[in-house]
Amino acid sequence: MPDAIDLLVLGAGPAGAAAALAAAEHGARTVMVDEALAPGGQVYRAPPMDHRQLGQRALEPEHRDGEALRRRLQCSGVEVATRHRVWSLLPGFRVHAIGPAGHRAWVARAVVLATGTTERVVPFPGWTTPGVIGLAAATILLKSQGAVPGERVVVAGCGPLLAAVGAGLVKAGRAPVAVVDLAGRGEWLRALPAMAARPDLVRRGLGWLAALRRAGVPLLSGHGVVAVEGDTRVTAVRIAPVASDGTPRAERVARRLEADALVIGHGLVPATEATRLLEADHRFVADAGGWIPVLDDDCATSVAGLFAAGDGSGLAGAAAARLQGEIAGLAAARHLGQLDEGRYQHTVAPLRQGLARARRFGQAMARLTAPRPAMVGTIAADTVVCRCEDVTRAEIETAIASGAREMNQLKAWTRCGMGPCQGRMCAETAASLLARHVGGREAAGQWTARAPLRPLPLADMVGEFGYDDIPMPEPAPP
């Protein structure tokens, strides 16, 4: 039997946690679900147990903020269900999850989705070689395991995570071979005015850069990776100067960096599986990371009682995620009748101001990582786009030429997106390739979202049972 609750919050990152705390404070019976071991999401990801047991101070400010957040949640009325994967979300808000003790189900009067992002990597020859990992994934490695991906690491891609990961590697005693940034100096300069909104974060960024400089790490801006060498393991990374659309400049020669690992990321993409599953309206906004749910000022989606916040509703960074989450939580409390209009407006007004400020900074950062559609045009015909199913660009182009005009037909005809990552890795590339032929991303459409939201072990799904326990329907007609 499902538990009846007021509010279910999916995702315990800065957005989800703020939403849950705000709603619970106004009396909403709130459950916050996350598949991670502890609340915190990506930025406030909890450090490994042994670090904490050793009494090591968490040195990064995120660790401090994360610990504070976890303490606040402990003393709040929020029920935190970590290590629970939500696999199905149905209207009327019936939510199904699987956790360490098996199935859990809730019926919630309102839902806040704060599911964060997935990483975009535009394929290049060798991108599936062992030793190539995502830039965001590398932050998890560094944060949650204190581990480094290799001895000689090249860090490449775009956005602020480049310097963060580079500096993280320096601190871990493995200064990277180079930090390779797609963005030219000009792009960073253009971001400067907005960055002034958060001098503290600028200071941190400058700190990372200084750390890299002190360690003698070359910082190559306006460069991109053109190929990775090595069969069973990365042996070298070839890089070349790129134009502002991200495509290699043909007239300039590539350089070869010997390395055993490449950390690379081309930005983040809002994780909209859950909002799509519930059939909320979406729109395509390249600067916000791609497809995002349509939200009003109260973080409400087009589905009554369904709210969304954080990077999953459009990239704007952790500070904005927290403020937006709080607004979503308050709006949910208002929706539930637990917060009257006057108090609601009074409470959200300053949050909205803060959000506008935080967004200026966050969106400027996001713009540095916005998709550069021309890059997919340079993907070689025999380069794999969907790594789960081994689908190359050439196969995708052939299917388009045979008449696939939207994403779902393209998927059916190629298997692109049908593998274990459920299309999270290749959707962006496939859609960008299709968009070139059908007149844009809107026309290309999106893959239909389906349960389960994450791959699910059958053993957990079925549990222990006997034949008589199976709820057998009526036999088929004879």
């Binding site: 696939a404 005809w413 298997r415 389960p452 079925v462 034949y467 057998m472 088929a476």
Partner: protein, 372 residues
Amino acid sequence: MSACPAYDCAVVGGGVMGCTTALWLARAGMRVVLLDRGSLCREASGVNAGTLTMQMTRAALIPYAMRGWELWRTTADWLGMDVGTRVLDGLSVAYTEAEVGMLEARASSRRAAGAPVELVDAARARDIEPGLGDGVRLAGFCPVDGFVVAYLTGRAYRGALLAAGATLQEGRAVTGIDPVDGGFALGTADGGRVEARRVVLAGGVWIQEMASWLGVRLPIQCLVNQLVVTERLPPVMRTILGVANGKLSLKQFDNGTVLVGGGWQGIGRGDPRDGGAEIVPENVIGNLQLAVHAVPRLRDARVLRVWLGYEAETADAMPVVGRLPGFDDAWVIGSVHSGYTSGPYIGRLLADAILERELERPLFDPGRLAGR
């Protein structure tokens, strides 16, 4: 309407039924337009389980299904593309006394209808399917079985239809049909109008709505079937496996993924056809339990995707294929149990009827169900 409509026939709905009918009409030299509101074969005909099983086909439809099975095996010849068809042994097992009774009755009626179904004991069933778990009491074995990779259907038909000279209008929903002098005028959602001498309604679960455009009441129930697919696994089974009550349909594709079906139902919010059907998590779990009971090694797999498809069913669970009552030149095709299996055959039969050729087998008169 102009003296000479642009098309000899307009087919509304591009599933396996509409595509097959359109294909044979075009090959016979008719000017054919096929309209679908989405992409070809993206409803039932692209999302179905692709099982070509005789043991789940209604006995009365076995002769049609046997011919369909044959056609699916030879798509390279008549459709111009291999759609991944595989011939596998079929096994339908019984775990309880009641299921044994059902199996015996079903096997004998299907055998009488021409399907080579043979009853075998548990040991023999295990030889045929080493992946089977315990508890089998009796099994029906049928070597006429197999699968098609259903999501390739549209790709194959699209190429064949274009090669045959048919006009394809995908992404074009028909919103109404008016009988006019010398034929029919179809209105489309984009405000357009298409004229044709004949019309074929091939809208899957939407043929009820389509018939109503012409004033005919054709009650069609909409089933919401759930399917579940796993990630790739090493070989865990080698047959098309079912349970006598029809509630399991299990197979492993060449790529290692295992498809679990059996007609477990999702539900609709209102009429599912109007948009909005949803999975029933308890039914997903029940279907998976049955699958794990049958093939215990599935317990180690992971589920990747659950989806829904709409299947049409009439009150007598028999097809509607033939003239729309009251019209000489309006035809309807659909609501065929295990209709994917027999689709290539039944669609061809309808084309033969429209072309006034002699029919190899009878159609299924819609008049028995229709009202005004």
